[in-house]
């Protein structure tokens, strides 16, 4: 008597394939449950761009994993937070992206439009610490706000930026880094708990060439996140 079969009978090979396909499907579901993590920072950044429908920008800064402390108190034992950041340069905007490695799926993309900024040099604040990119003499626990200066005039070798806050003036210097940008890392103010204290403050930017000649002086207001 012939047995009725609704599904084709699979040999061992067929069953193996079926199992592996099933595993692949379940793996996708598991991956989705963890927020679809991606291996490299650049992939995450590109994905973020596509999520926001942005065309791919040129990556001008990528910090890799850096451990920073939230608090400015040097003796305050605070949990360390690991962050990775990317700065991308688009046509008339810059996108800053950081990934909170400790929180599943927590990441953020901030877009700094250049339209509202006057002056040749455009600023893009990175609102979290980038101490790693400044070299090893930056103590790990120092947190800082960095402002990236983009679209520098040709021949710029280094620059300095002065930000005027209520209580005083903060000045930082920077060499020109790869991809033609300067990164000014301002240490956190003692009375500021938020990292965006630098937004909206008046600034003066001076750029010098190799010989030390002043190439450009620009003033304005540090852009505020929309």
């Amino acid at each position: 008597m012939k047995k009725l079969r609704f599904l084709p009978k699979l040999g061992r090979g067929g069953k193996t394939v079926r199992n592996l396909v099933l595993v692949a499907g379940l793996a996708l579901v598991i991956w989705a449950q963890y927020g679809c993590p991606l291996p490299t920072l650049e992939m995450k950044f590109r994905r973020m761009e596509r999520t926001y429908l942005l065309p791919p920008s040129e990556i001008v800064l990528s910090t890799g994993r850096i451990t920073v402390a939230h608090s400015h108190e040097p003796y305050d034992p605070v949990p360390k937070v690991t962050r990775e950041q990317v700065l991308g340069l688009g046509e008339d905007y810059a996108v800053a992206f950081w990934q909170h490695s400790s929180l599943r799926g927590a990441n953020e993309l901030v877009c700094w439009s250049f339209e509202e900024q006057e002056g040749q040099v455009k600023l893009a604040p990175l609102l979290h610490a980038v101490s790693d990119t400044r070299g090893e003499d930056w103590p790990e626990r120092e947190s800082c706000v960095a402002v990236a200066a983009l679209k520098l005039p040709d021949g710029t070798a280094r620059g300095e930026m002065i930000v005027e806050a209520q209580e005083g003036v903060y000045q930082e210097e920077s060499e020109v880094l790869e991809h033609d940008l300067c990164l000014f890392a301002f240490q956190s103010r003692l009375d500021a708990y938020s990292f965006d204290w630098v937004q909206g403050l008046p600034y003066t930017l001076r750029l010098y060439d190799e010989a030390g000649k002043l190439l450009l002086e620009q003033t304005g207001t540090v852009p505020v996140r929309a």
Partner: protein, 297 residues
Amino acid sequence: MKKDEKKKAGPLHETGRSGQGGLNGFQWLYIATRGIRFKPDRAAVRAELAAHLEDKQADLQRIFPEMSPEEAERRAVESMGDAWEVRKQLAKIHRPWLGYLWRLSKVLAVLACLWLVGLGVFRGDDAYLGDNPYSEWWDMDDLPRTAVMGDDDDLRYLPGDDPDQLLALELGQTEHIAGQDVSLRRAALWQEEDGLELYLYLRINTWRFWERGLLREEWMKVTDDRGNCYVLGVESGKHPEDGSLMNALTMGGLGPFHSGYEVYIRNLDPEAQWIRLDYGPTEPLFSFTVELKEGEK
């Protein structure tokens, strides 16, 4: 199988390779099938060969009734031939790799299921869409899904008999950006006490579920032919009736392959002939224009 091993194995060490005379059925089968590394395969082949031996033995005993069972067994084994030769040939045929892979695939499948059970997926604790009130597997009805499960929200977009409903359009303007399909699905225009209210339903589709599109309210600019620029969000002020925001971009559905959004403008200029959506941080990434001709449904 290496030749040294046969010296170590228990029942075999008395007989050399050349002297088959001492082998009994069990030993012959042991040697012949030992080359098959995957256990289930080995057992199946062993059973087949064992059946053959038994048949042979039974036959011999039938033909020569005075023969002892041991003698019959010995002769049967002899007729089977060289156990080592058979072992070599069977080993070449029955490679274990597929068997191991099959076992692995079973283990992986079970592990994956257990993992999902552990994550609570089958209980309904889906971390992917989960608690989100806007979640739906697919936008079947081409209508936004709202957190408030009131039917009124849906009917807003569907043509009906309500005289206050001035327009209910099924649009389909689509733009393809960054691997996503952004589409303006529907528009509805309503006459309310305080003015004209416009509702727009947008949807973003992609099969890449790991990068579903998102819209940001601050990047959405709404203008009309009269030169008005409608602000969205907190800055648009509050609606006098219920205190909710006057104009806004809100979520209207979320699924693995789509995300939906609603734009509503509740202080629309009555003279406006069309409105335009421009979306982007600086230059628009996409734009949609909606004609507002009254009386059409």
